[in-house]
């Protein structure tokens, strides 16, 4: 297989570009999108590369159509992705729910910009954390990853595809305008160096008859893709294990939705990824996700120099959220600070996790600039 970009070496590229290259190495062969700042460069890179690897890149009429097209492509057997920013992500919410309900593996990238509405198109923000977790309607469960460097943008994209395929679920990647456009050195591995997960296909006719069952007991049904003679019916209505609509039976709905929760939550130890930095002996913890983590690492160093026993917890997975882990952390430290580029979204989750065991303070910043390390450090010193 020939790749339209160098592999097995480092390159100096933007976050958007890194996501596109990672997607191709993860096996993505279908991209549908609609231009929006700061995610357009993902689309432009995909447009350049996809035909060369016999994949599809298509500009749809809007974001609703883009996510619809990738769900269709996934049922036709392709690994598929779309990328957007806040306003487009809002438009995708109905079909994101459809992907949850029909257990369709897809990857949706949201390069966050300032909002609400068209807000600040070229400035970074973290205002879509709650939208990513709870934006669609009804009870639902999905996975949200959040990179903070261009290398992570690359690595997390590969992981997003693997998680999507493994758990038959939509995975959202939350980046931001800063990460989208910043250039950094990224190691682009050889394909052999990458672990690529493929979705579970039915092993028998029997399994294929239960596209929404649980034949393996792990909550993840094998996915009978179209055109294989299985004659699968897929609907966003509440359906039983066979895929038949059963909208007026409370037990059927409960069984389906609880399994969709369970297949993620039972594997949360594998799905949740976090990094700790000087946290073992910390008296003050800073909890971050995405771009702010970079300033926070520096802030921790500054604080340590000043004699404050600070440490950082960086959440690579925003959802599912490890509430128990935060509670343990809260028991260990005196205070938790949550710097984020919104008026308090991650803060709500951390406070719930802390469960009153430690004081949690929000360090909010909006307007389009990432916190400086000093801003964080000064708030901690008080």
């Amino acid at each position: 297989m020939r790749y339209p970009f160098p592999v097995g070496k480092s390159d100096f590229i933007q976050g958007d570009e890194a996501i596109a290259r990672a997607a191709i190495l993860a096996g993505c062969r279908f991209y549908a999108g609609y231009p929006i700042t700061p995610a357009s460069e993902i689309f432009e890179a995909m447009a350049l590369y996809m035909p060369l690897v016999d994949g599809v890149s298509i500009q749809m009429e809007d974001e609703i159509a883009s996510i619809a097209a990738i769900i269709g492509a996934s049922w036709a057997g392709a690994k598929a992705m779309t990328a957007t920013s806040g306003p487009g992500f809002s438009l995708m919410q109905e079909n994101l729910g459809y992907a949850v309900m029909t257990e369709t593996p897809i990857v949706v990238v949201n390069m966050m910009r300032g909002g609400p509405s068209t807000g600040q198109p070229t400035f970074p923000a973290q205002g879509d954390i709650m939208q990513a977790i709870w934006g669609t309607h009804g009870d639902h469960m999905l996975i949200v990853l959040s990179p903070s460097t261009v290398q992570e943008a690359f690595d997390f994209t590969i992981r997003a595809f693997n998680l999507a395929e493994k758990y038959r679920t939509p995975v959202v990647i939350l980046g931001d305008a800063e990460l989208a456009h910043m250039r950094e050195r990224v190691y682009i591995p050889e394909p052999e160096e990458i672990e690529v997960v493929e979705r579970k296909l039915p092993a028998s006719e029997e399994e294929a008859k239960l596209p929404f069952g649980d034949p393996h007991g792990d909550g993840v049904p094998p996915m009978p893709i179209f055109g294989k003679g299985y004659r699968t019916y897929v609907t966003g209505l509440t359906h039983d294990e066979y895929g038949h609509p059963r909208t007026v039976e409370p037990e059927v709905h409960e069984r389906l939705i609880r399994r969709i929760y369970r297949k993620i939550l039972d594997h949360k130890d594998e799905i949740i990824s976090r990094e700790e930095f000087m946290l073992e002996d910390a008296e003050v913890a800073i909890v971050t996700t995405g771009i702010v983590s970079r300033s926070a690492i520096r802030a921790v160093k500054i604080l340590r120099e000043k004699g404050v026993e600070a440490g950082l917890l960086k959440l690579n997975t925003v959802w599912p959220f490890d509430f128990d882990y935060i509670e343990e952390l809260a028991e260990r430290v005196d205070k938790i600070y949550v710097p984020e580029m919104n008026l308090g979204q991650l803060y709500h989750l951390v406070r719930e996790g802390a469960n009153g065991k430690a004081e949690v303070e929000l360090i909010a910043k909006i307007g389009g600039e990432v916190h400086t390390p000093m801003e964080i450090a000064e708030r901690v010193v008080g």
């Binding site: 769900i71 269709g72 055109g227 004659r231 038949h244």
Partner: protein, 281 residues
């Protein structure tokens, strides 16, 4: 054409475990479903290579009753989903079964863009002038004066002529019939299924329950008689003055052409890309 018994068609193509259907007595959707299955049967198409796609509405429940791969999606978005299925696996033939509200209101933008791209899909469109599933609100196809629960004093907006819209947007094949024109209907579906690119067959279909009741036509026969009254065959319409055609709906075959479909265009695009990058001669 030799007509097989309806039982034979039913046993061969319907999912027995999903029956009975949700359709009301006198509803035309079942007839159009039968036409479509007869066309598939007559053409001896491979059941495993056809995917049925739909949005939301009574018409959109059809893929659930047929024994094929099927994707019952969100309201109006069927053709956007279909774009992904078709481009990801061009070997699949796609039938989109849609309602008039689904296709032309919430899905209007997807419809015109799927046609513009010449997406390889056959749209079977149920036009009952109303939103059947939600109980009889006016659809964008409703002729002026027709009543719906959201226009209790009679529709005051202009209707969409979906077939004409499809012709103008560039479809390869467009025809419109009433459910009463079953032979023409089956033949049109057969033609549509054999063509590359975007094809659309629209059926004026009785919805006695949500639509007829509110417009003094409580039964399917009354609605069919009304359809006979308001429809004009294309050949005759060509000789009529615009004033005479006011309030009438033209039926017939509107276009039959062979522009390259989206799949073929994309495959050419891949070749062009590789050539431009010097990957291939």
């Amino acid at each position: 054409m030799y007509l097989k018994s309806a039982y034979e068609i039913r046993d061969k193509y319907l999912r027995k475990d999903m029956l009975p259907t949700i359709f009301c007595p006198g509803c035309g959707i079942g007839s159009v479903l039968q036409f479509t299955l007869r066309a598939i049967d007559d053409l001896k198409l491979n059941q495993d290579e056809i995917v049925w796609v739909s949005g939301i509405g009574c018409s959109s429940r059809v893929p659930g009753f047929v024994n094929f791969d099927g994707l019952h999606t969100t309201h109006g978005r069927a053709l956007a989903f279909a774009t992904g299925i078709k481009l990801a696996n061009p070997n699949l033939k796609i039938i989109a079964f849609m309602g008039d509200g689904d296709a032309a209101a919430i899905g209007g933008n997807h419809l015109i863009h799927a046609i513009r791209r010449n997406l390889d899909v056959t749209v079977i469109l149920i036009n009952n002038f109303t939103y059947g599933m939600t109980g009889g609100q006016v659809a964008p196809t409703a002729l002026k004066g027709l009543r719906g629960t959201t226009a209790p004093y009679g529709q005051f907006e202009n209707p969409f002529d979906i077939a004409q819209l499809a012709v103008s947007a560039g479809a390869n094949y467009v025809a419109r019939w009433t459910v009463f024109n079953y032979l023409q209907g089956i033949n049109s579906i057969k033609k549509a299924l054999q063509k590359e690119g975007f094809t659309l067959v629209e059926f004026l279909s009785p919805c006695p329950i949500s639509f007829g009741r509110r417009n003094r036509m409580k039964t399917a026969p009354e609605l069919i008689r009304w359809y006979q009254k308001i429809t004009v065959p294309l050949a005759k319409a060509k000789k009529m003055k615009p004033e005479e055609l006011e309030g009438k709906i033209v039926i017939g075959e509107f276009v039959d052409r062979d522009r390259p479909g989206l799949v073929r265009e994309y495959q050419e695009y891949i070749k062009r890309a590789k050539k431009m990058m010097g990957w291939e001669q």
